[in-house]
């Protein structure tokens, strides 16, 4: 599948109808989502025929992208009932198979090494401090091959240090810097739309 085609399909997905600020629910736009998964597959072969988990999947944009790139199995995990309902409809609409599990990522302990790759757009930790790091920590325990994640560029040094020192990463690399448009979703947003700089990371866990 071509990048433009993937981006086009993701652009038709339903997003949060009633976003919850405490969960930092921001849609992963089709531009970012398509580039993230396309890079993971075309540069590293981490998606096609792999088991891919999407942590904090929300409406399932990254999960859908993984499924469209022929992951062997995609599993989306999220805490929020409404988001998972939308994610299920999105998967049906695209005619892809995705399993969804309702859970708190920070409490989740998955057994074994079945998951090859974790993809995620975690909360950035602006509402609940440290939420981004809890997601990263959880993802690094589950992935046997790689973790792809988005984090604010302003936290780059901190993320790198924590990944290598605390989360068992063999490598932590910023693949590119992207502009994440944050639409005016919540009352506390003063401006109509803002762009924030985010890094697309690839982390490789040490083999245990």
């Amino acid at each position: 599948m071509k990048l433009k085609q993937l981006e086009g399909l993701l652009g038709d997905l339903e997003q949060f109808s009633n976003p919850k600020v405490e969960l930092e629910q921001y849609p992963t736009g089709p531009h970012i989502a398509s580039r993230m998964l396309f890079t993971a597959e075309n540069s590293y072969g981490d998606i096609t025929d792999k088991v891919v988990a999407d942590f904090g999947c929300g409406c399932g944009t990254l999960s859908a992208a993984a499924a469209l790139l022929d992951a062997a199995c995609v599993i989306g995990y999220d805490i929020d009932t409404e988001s998972l309902e939308t994610a299920t409809l999105n998967a049906e609409e695209l005619e892809v198979e995705i399993d969804f599990v309702q859970c708190d990522i920070t409490k989740l302990q998955l057994k074994g090494k079945i998951v090859d790759t974790v993809v995620m757009n975690p909360p950035f930790g602006t509402r609940k401090k440290g939420a981004d790091m809890e997601f990263l920590s959880a993802a690094m325990k589950v992935a046997s091959q790689a973790v792809y994640s988005l984090h604010k560029t302003s936290t780059r040094e901190h993320i790198k240090r924590a990944a290598l020192r605390d989360f068992n990463a063999k490598s932590a690399e910023v693949l590119c810097e992207l502009r994440y448009d944050v639409p005016k979703l919540y009352k506390f947003h003063k401006r109509k739309e803002v762009d924030i700089a985010v890094d697309l990371w690839r982390f490789v866990p040490k083999q245990n």
Partner: protein
């Protein structure tokens, strides 16, 4: 929820030490055909918990998997009978309605519209 997903889930209630595998109570099971990928299945076979898969499949009405985990020769054989069964159990059976039950505490995690709800109550974390 498919059995590949079930194969990693355990009960995370505080203090529970034997929360795996979760027992399956099935009310509705649906089957959806997906592409057969023998290389993927061989790779997965080395990673899954066999007993959890066999029990899970049985509780969803699929009895074709052998009790004991087959050895490597069966996986490499030209006869793909076993791999087809593994494929069906892991990737084509969906638990739509039912529950997952913690083997230690009996706590039930409901499964509705295919989604298991693993959220814990306040007194369980």
């Amino acid at each position: 929820m498919r059995l590949i997903t079930h194969n990693m889930l355990s009960c995370n209630i505080k203090g529970v030490t034997n929360g795996f595998p979760l027992k399956i109570e099935s009310v509705t099971v649906v089957e959806k055909e997906v592409d057969f990928n023998p290389d993927f299945l061989r790779h997965m076979f080395a990673k899954i918990e066999w007993k959890a898969l066999v029990e899970g499949a049985r509780s969803m009405g699929y009895e074709e998997l052998p009790e004991d985990s087959p050895d490597a020769s069966e996986l490499e054989s030209d006869d793909e009978t076993f791999l087809r069964k593994l494929h069906h159990a892991l990737l084509e059976l969906h638990l739509e309605e039912g529950a997952l039950v913690c083997p230690e505490t009996g706590r039930k995690f409901p499964v509705n519209k295919g989604i298991p709800n693993m959220l814990l109550h306040e007194d369980e974390v």
